[in-house]
Amino acid sequence: MTVVVAYADTPPGQRAVATAATGEWARADERVVLVPAVRGEQCPDVAEVERRWPALAGRVEVVRGDVGDPGDAVVQVAQRHDARMVVLGLRHRSAVGKLVFGSTAQRILLGATCPVLTVKPDGAPGA
């Protein structure tokens, strides 16, 4: 089976990768697919990811979807790989922030056709 991670080089994003690698829900033998989920972010290097999270060595790959919106790209890749679940890091949003700005995370949560596991970084409120 496959787990898809919405990748971002931020604390919530790193927490999501760590969860997919060694978390409670992770399985040691399944493939992990990282999808860049922040617009304009460079694709992470596979070797670099393996160095930072040794538990992922040999079973991680980085895939960019074929659609422009990062949220849609994550859902698309998850569907293509028939993923078991999507792991997604959440960041704190204020009430006004939620109202005014859209959310990639929300789009993934609503659009995904498989279970989505959301995590918050250590020390975040409600983590």
């Binding site: 604390p11 074929d66 949220g71 569907q79 700005f101 659009g111």
Partner: protein, 689 residues
């Protein structure tokens, strides 16, 4: 209302109108096939031809071309993977991969039918807009119209792709250029430097063809050859047609998005198609096949593509505010006929409006039909390298600019503006607000004076219409400030649906390739200097004539100053190494990740610098060639200059085989010889003739 609609349809039965419509459709289809021209190119090339005609046949021809350009531009995108115009690049995503799997006919039939439906729905939208907007438009006085002109320029500046400051600077530059010539209120000459030629103002065709047409030629001549073989036309038409019927909701949705994108100034076909693609992806449950040949990825954008052009016409005709570049040129054309768009077109020229709608609808259907028939043979046209077309296009465009005033000076202005357009394009300054500003400068001034003469003091500002427009004006500014504040706090992702091509593809084009280099700093500095000079010169005008130039110059100075600051700021912070934001696991790994990234970036930068220098060299060579051509025209006349220039350009710049060069020159010469007898066109005479 319906009477006017049907009498307009009856007038289209007039063979001379019908012939013009057919000519327009054919020209539009061919122009759509040639990569890089699009709707702007279609109007730009055909506009000069129409100068000697009556308004009806002229409009029939232009609208016919405009309606079908986006039908045929799909062919190159699907068969070659090289879009015929920027807006067809969306169709390429799914269309090209479908074609590579041997289903080219399926992809094309989906695209043609959607284009047709998009055009038809667009025409319906245009029809519905008239009765809806008519009471509104008729209630407008000069204060509202003045606000509308401001709104047109600033919305174009804010909504164009790229950053807001660049858009505003471009808009102010356009306004300033529009003010050249005699002032409408005091008949004083402004910014004419004592030249009789400039006191007439700068010709619209010269500006549009220079900033868009010539700049496009200069930036594309460098693309040598299309290396890929076109995909063969396989698969059945019928399967595509049947499939298309099952996706009719996508067609309608795409068309509606297209109309909306068209109505907004500055949001053109490109942004409209990406929006349509985005909504198709977002609303699809099964996203697996998008980008790999999903019919929904073709249908929606293709339909939006065509309806954008209809949507563009709504604000153009009803309010006199062009929604995009092609309609800005149409607006200019209407003005030369003495038809004032806005309230008067609704009351006096309603038949003309309906003629446009019918022409649009008929052209959409005919265009799709012709595409089905002729794609097999026309597909080869898409493989012609742009460099070979360059001289022909150049000759036609310059000839076009000559028709408006019959002055060689217009051609020099055009080449100079071509250089300006080239740099605007390369540094990522949107050119649509420039042209819209240019077109609206004089109406803006006229409405302002009418307003201040009719109302005492600031009383007009409290009219409800004015207040509503002011709100529309202020809200986007607040919005963009909010977005900026948000990104400044380090949140790069605001999560907004914003469909842009995946970056690797976007970098092939010249567009914005010089952003963030000394060149863009230079453009900002030159803009600031121009505004400062304008401010200084406006000191010598009388009080009435000086107001607009002064306002524009001050506004431009502020935005250009902001732009300069934006450009300079990263230069004074030499590579402030972004501290890795890794807090928890493996900080050492985090920093190496950053290090490899920086390394990758410098390699990419060097590659980009090499490409940039090549682009610049080619651009410089092309503009030098254009200037040489003009000198030749002054000496020996147009025909002689063409016969000398074309083979030289083809052999030394485009590096074609001698046979191609000779054939090309002969054909072009024959066309030039026969043109004056077929159309009301004059060739410039040289000193030796």
């Amino acid at each position: 209302m319906t009477d006017a609609a049907f009498s307009a349809l009856a007038s289209l039965a007039d063979p001379s109108l019908l012939i013009m419509l057919v000519v327009g459709v054919l020209a539009g289809l061919v122009i759509g096939l040639i990569p890089g021209l699009g709707g702007t190119g279609a109007v730009a090339i055909l506009l000069p031809v129409t100068f000697g005609m009556d308004p009806e046949p002229a409009l029939a021809m232009l609208i016919g071309a405009l309606a079908v350009v986006h039908t045929s531009d799909t062919v190159a995108a699907v068969l070659l993977g090289a879009p015929g115009s920027a807006s067809a690049s969306v169709t390429m995503l799914d269309g090209y991969s479908m074609a590579r799997r041997g289903q080219a006919k399926r992809a094309l039939s989906l695209a043609f039918l959607s284009s047709m439906a998009g055009g038809l729905i667009g025409a319906v939208g245009l029809t519905l807009a008239i009765p809806l907007a008519r009471p509104l438009v008729l209630s407008f006085g000069s204060p509202e119209l003045f606000m509308l002109t401001i709104l047109g320029v600033s919305l174009a500046a804010v909504l164009s792709r790229g950053n807001v400051v660049k858009g505003l600077t471009a808009g102010f530059l356009g306004l300033l250029l529009g003010l050249v010539g005699s002032s409408p209120t005091t008949a004083e000459e402004r910014f004419s430097f004592g030249s009789l030629f400039l006191s007439d103002g700068v010709s619209l065709v010269a500006v549009a063809l220079g900033v868009f047409g010539l700049a496009e030629i200069a930036s594309r001549v460098g693309q040598r050859k299309v290396t890929e073989e076109p995909v063969t036309l396989t698969g059945g038409w019928a399967s595509g047609i049947r499939e298309w019927l099952t996706h009719w909701t996508q067609v309608v949705r795409g068309a509606l998005i297209g109309i909306w994108a068209g109505v907004l100034p500055g949001v053109g076909a490109t942004a409209g198609t990406w929006l349509a693609y985005g909504q198709a992806v977002a609303t699809a449950k099964d996203k697996r096949k998008f980008g790999k040949g999903d019919p929904r990825g073709i249908v929606g954008p293709e339909s939006a593509n065509n309806s954008v052009e209809a949507g563009d016409l709504i604000p153009t005709f009803l309010f006199g505010i062009p929604g995009g570049v092609p309609s800005a040129m149409l607006l200019g054309m209407l003005l030369t006929y003495g038809i004032q768009p806005g309230p008067s077109i609704v009351s006096e020229h309603l038949d003309l409006m309906y003629l446009i709608i019918w022409a649009f609808a008929i052209a959409s259907v005919a265009g799709a039909f012709l595409c089905f028939l002729a794609t097999g043979s026309l597909a080869r046209l898409t493989k012609v390298p742009f460099a070979v077309l360059g001289p022909g296009l150049l000759v036609v465009m310059l000839l076009g600019a000559f028709q408006e005033g019959g002055q060689l000076g217009d051609l020099w202005v055009m080449v100079a503006l071509g250089v300006v357009g080239f740099f605007l394009k390369a540094t990522g300054m949107p050119r649509a607000p420039f042209l819209i500003g240019f077109v609206l400068a004089i109406p803006m001034e006229r409405y302002y004076y009418l307003t201040t003469n009719l109302y005492d003091g600031a009383g007009w500002m409290t009219r409800p219409g004015v207040l509503a427009f002011a709100a529309v004006l202020v809200l986007p500014v607040l919005w963009s400030l909010l977005r900026k504040a948000r990104t400044a706090t380090g949140r790069a992702d605001d999560g907004h649906r914003d469909e842009h091509p995946v970056e690797e593809r976007a970098e092939v084009d010249l567009e914005g390739s010089m952003a963030g280099t000394p060149w863009s700093l230079g453009v900002a500095a030159v803009a600031a200097a121009v505004f400062a000079g304008a401010l200084w010169m406006s000191g010598s005008f009388s009080e009435e004539a000086a107001l607009m130039p002064r306002l524009v110059a001050v506004g431009g100075l502020v935005t250009a100053g902001l732009l300069l600051w934006q450009e300079l700021r990263p230069r004074f912070q030499p590579q402030a190494d972004p501290e890795p934001t890794v807090h928890d696991e493996a900080p050492s790994g985090g920093s190496t990740l950053v290090a490899t990234r920086v390394e990758q970036r410098t390699v990419a930068q060097e590659a980009r610098a090499a490409v940039r220098n090549r682009d610049l060299a080619i651009g410089a060579r092309t503009f030098a060639a254009m200037a040489t051509f003009l000198v030749l025209v002054m000496v020996g006349g147009y025909l002689a200059a063409t016969l000398v220039f074309t083979p030289v350009f083809l052999l030394y710049v485009a590096r074609t085989r001698p046979r191609t060069a000779v054939v090309h020159t002969l054909v072009l010469g024959l066309v030039l010889l026969s043109l004056p007898s077929l159309l009301p066109v004059e060739l410039p005479l040289g000193a030796l003739q």
